[in-house]
Subunit: 774 residues, 2 copies
Amino acid sequence: MLEVLQPTEEPGWVLAHEGYSVLTESAVESRFALGNGFLGMRASRSTGRGPTWASWLSYIRWASWPRCYVAGLFDMPNTEPPVPALVPVADWSRVRLILDGEPLVAREGVMLYGMRRLDMRRGVLLSEWTHRTPAGITATGHELRLLSLADRAVGLQLQRIVLDRDGIEVRLEASFGLAGLGMEPVRLENDLGAWRTEGTGKVVAMAGAASLCLDDASINPERPFPLRWIFRWPSKAGQVAEFSRLVAVARADRSAEDPAPRATAALERSTSAGWRAILERHEVAWDVNWSASGIRIEGDDDLQRALRFAVYHLTSAANPDDDRVSIGARGLTGDAYFGHVFWDTETYLLPFYTAVWPDAARSLLMYRYHTLSGARAKAELCGYRGALYPWESADTGEETTPETVLGPDGKPIEILTGKMEHHISADVAYAVWQYWRATGDDEFFRDAGAEILLETARFWASRAVAEADGRRHIRKVIGPDEYHENVDDNAFTNVMARWNIACALRALDLVRQRWPEHASALQDRLALDDRELDDWRDAIARIVTGLDTATGLYEQFAGFHALRQLNVADYADHALPIDVVIGREQTQGSQVIKQADVVALIALLPEAFPEHGATINFRHYEPRCAHGSSLSAAMHARVAARLGDADMALRYMRETASLDLDPDPNSAGGIRIAGLGGLWQAAILGIAGLNLMGETLELDPKLPLSWRRLSFKVRWQGRSVGLSVAADVVEATLIDGDPMDITVAGLTRNLEARSSLRVDLPSEAFRGVAEVCA
Amino acid sequence: MLEVLQPTEEPGWVLAHEGYSVLTESAVESRFALGNGFLGMRASRSTGRGPTWASWLSYIRWASWPRCYVAGLFDMPNTEPPVPALVPVADWSRVRLILDGEPLVAREGVMLYGMRRLDMRRGVLLSEWTHRTPAGITATGHELRLLSLADRAVGLQLQRIVLDRDGIEVRLEASFGLAGLGMEPVRLENDLGAWRTEGTGKVVAMAGAASLCLDDASINPERPFPLRWIFRWPSKAGQVAEFSRLVAVARADRSAEDPAPRATAALERSTSAGWRAILERHEVAWDVNWSASGIRIEGDDDLQRALRFAVYHLTSAANPDDDRVSIGARGLTGDAYFGHVFWDTETYLLPFYTAVWPDAARSLLMYRYHTLSGARAKAELCGYRGALYPWESADTGEETTPETVLGPDGKPIEILTGKMEHHISADVAYAVWQYWRATGDDEFFRDAGAEILLETARFWASRAVAEADGRRHIRKVIGPDEYHENVDDNAFTNVMARWNIACALRALDLVRQRWPEHASALQDRLALDDRELDDWRDAIARIVTGLDTATGLYEQFAGFHALRQLNVADYADHALPIDVVIGREQTQGSQVIKQADVVALIALLPEAFPEHGATINFRHYEPRCAHGSSLSAAMHARVAARLGDADMALRYMRETASLDLDPDPNSAGGIRIAGLGGLWQAAILGIAGLNLMGETLELDPKLPLSWRRLSFKVRWQGRSVGLSVAADVVEATLIDGDPMDITVAGLTRNLEARSSLRVDLPSEAFRGVAEVCA
């Protein structure tokens, strides 16, 4: 077993954390979390922990926050206000080691060595520790944990334990940690547990198997209770105990459906295959994913590592086989935001999946299709037509943003985003269009995507109301800059809304041309008549955008330019966010921006910035941004890269990378996956200049001088294309699929099947801004 | 069933809370909590709740904090720092009512009426509610819950449910809420569950039985899982469903011991008796307790109610049958302070138990005897001799004060009380002596109490170190006033220490006289020789007390008089404690006192205040006290009453009463039982002037003009004495026991068996201070 417990040799693939500090432990548990899009698991130590339970006390600090999650397993806990939340499932990896009757607990005795490693290449968490107990016994352990990417129902744990003494009575208790669960058990027998959520009536089944070998001979456990195995033996110094455990999980979304047979079947196929086969298949699956999504940066080891980390978590978060779930703001790595799905998914994550893992992208978009009824209901409730996606979404597509949360002082803070942050409807539409352009997935477009585009467009047309000035306004919204609430005509919102409507009209034309019966059936079903379409065209023409055509500057929202100016840089060294430092009211009265707002618009809709508009707006808004969100820096990096400011792009990329890679306690509630998606965008959509929305696959690189080469693959309309960008040349290889056109630095060439193409770049790698924004 | 669901008619026995607010719900759950000293249970609604689970998020607010506790069931959770804490056990009272497939949830539909009542006389929690579901069904429920005072292992729940419609498919799911438990199940079968704590290896077993009658015919439940009963029936409008459930609980302190047979036996004796018998025996037990401990105040309904409330919770908190547990700072009513035992128990609660329930007092003191080894270990660890009781104590007597807790801002705050608040050793000794004086329990005194007195005295002699000035000093302590840490020669500590040593010498003499073999065996065992006793006498003579004999004023600690003066009254209107308002550092530099310190000394050792000393010190320190602890006001009330300031005494009593009776969210973590014990003291030891430490039973009343009469009973050296105090006369009745002497207002008279005595009081009810302090 020892050989598989060793990490990949190349250090660029491995993140290591030595020792233990209560200040950073929860963040390490998030950072090194495992996931396969169906199951998630924080990287808590499996051995040496004490118990955790539900506590009401705000003045205690848990030394560790062990948590396992199942995607889509939401229930409504007894909170005020009530908000659906991901329900934790049993921690199936706990091991208690009891030596001569004394449990080995990390806080007692001396931890001589403790190392956790995330082997990103293999998708495994590796631990190694040596502990001297108060009784003077030295125990050494190695561990591997994984959540299988080859068979998402399955998790594996391997442990290897050696003691330094003869004659110790060793007891190894392997159990499913059942403490702290918010569900009631409905079954606990034959190593199968099933639990039901109270409100939503979902059922989760978990089956387990465990074995232990001493000198290659397996020993029989005591079985006092289901999902608990107790192995006992007298120690010999240096003798190796090898423990392995399998878990298989299944979820059912209705009480009537029994997930137990699926969990049992998954366990049976795993036990009959054996752990070596499970590990091997998992590693092969990761190899396949890395081969499709890996990025190679020559000349920047730090960002190379950060991008691997990003791709690791992006890969861990998605599940192409389940189109009823999406990815929450912290993936399946922590409790923060209750597992809710935000615009983060479409705006920050989807480009990655669309470009390198279209099956995952499709599932994520189908989640929005399946939750259209919730979006329609929300629009209706708010007095609009069409589909208004919830700002926060769980499993049903109902709005799940809490109306209040408790501030640090225990007082409730009103949360307005659920009522006012409407741009998400356009963000979803954007991701649908981008996916279809990049993949050519007509079936999705015809059967699902077009309906999302039409229903969101319909929402916007009803949302943008014609007023006395002859323009249509979108009032009382929150844009991406959440420091300013209840604003009118937020540029990001309005321009995205206009684009959304225009895109829907284009989509409808397309469906009419290609699938006329579908088109008329769809129009009938949606009761979408020509008069309404005329109204949409009117909306496109008359929606206020905030663009001052004289200066080329957008006003972030009506009245923003008149707010008090503030030198945001003065607050850069503060440990606290600026809105905490200067207060909510002061912030609202100032030109201080939480996160990329107009800047995000530059990234998404460069065509909305004619002439030098992109530069003008970026130079205006970038210094005003306080980056009070983990989403902000990456979007600035992407835009800075497009505008040729490589230094700034790299700086913002490093800032984003440090969010979850550095020991930042804010990761405690889970990794900030949107930041990681943004980091990928900064490299691929920013520096490499990949455009997924064009007629052809487009690349327009702006390689920083310090980078020698950036290599990656993308999928384009069913094909697989390898791309390698150096300072003076781009190499494109059509790995798989039919011949295609590719546009590099504005020049379109044909790429033959299974062949490569070299395109020389103009000698000055960084060209003028005008060209970029053309 | 309906008749038993009605509250006691006399409103003075019943506390009522109508409706529901998330702001006060947790406090109501504490206030109306049930307990019998072995089991505790918060007054959460049993029906209509959503699930609760372990959450890491500080920004959510639980709408309710349902919790059941078992006294002494401590484990070490995985917190940092690690601190033993009471482990919650299964909430055995949850009922889910599912109507036509839709669970009735309080937050959905309309709660037309909701009332909870604490019937203090009967010791039962009564609920009544009428709810209209979103489907328009109106359901009305009545409930009774109790934890039996007649058989502490047993709890009972009765529910009566009526619907307003025919033909609804009703499903009533009664289960043991197993969510959020910090223990692993070791057994779940035949309606018996057993769980084991991980670190301490304790086991708790819970057995349950449930039944439901429709029109007096019982219907059979489905039994999908142990400790879960599902009853189904089609509704008829107005039909009465009567549900009853029993629970029986047993605790074992070692893994090897199986508590299951005890739980099963308790369940069997309960089911065979039937719920009517259980309820009746419980009510009889409460009657007996009320008869011994009830207080009658004529002329002050508010304080009458408050004192009933105090006696209710004091009665609910103690268990004379278990001398391995004591009473935590919040009893068994909430999570705050982890269930830890402080000086509160001996100083604030023991006088009640000693005076009216000596068996409970004895058990509580035996807990300190059983934890002497922990106290000895702490003394040794700190470099002292004898027994230094832990500031916070759980089950073993080890120090369990957390070294840090998280402040409201999430930053750790260092807690020094565990290192420095040593006066608790003298407080325990004081309670031992008081108990023995009042009860004459020689067996306890000889076999346990004397050893506590000697070992604590030995600690103080080693703690008070002779210095160059020829005096013995006790440096680096915290007195009851915890606003000032790390002080030298705290008057309360030093005077109590001196008293402790003197009392130990007296106790040793007594044991030598009466049980000479015991005395020499004890001295041998403790290796207590004459040289050491000489050192004790030296300590008594030379310990610094801080008393200025010229002015009669004690200095609270060395240097207190030199601190900045502050007008504490200026801060009285602040919602926040003064140390939060002016900051910790400012507080430490000021003459502002957290709670009764020198004032507590006046109460405990009036003989330390010669001449007008009590008044001088009270008038000096009372205005300097900010009452930053729930313990403070009651002690001030007691002393104000002794000094004849009835107005101030009543004001402080009302303040104390309002702590838990008013909707104060600070009760959320449990009722402040020390405040309730202090309230009892203010009435009985303050206003009635009962002295439990004298040669005879002493009474020296100072009845407020507004009170017509104060009547109560006390136990005195095996006897039961009824006392009734009016403005001009005291009536004493020897209800049970041999003739005895009684001293009323300084005059000693003989009280004959089964007879009464009237003692006229001097016409001026409020006499001079000098007489009080004589």
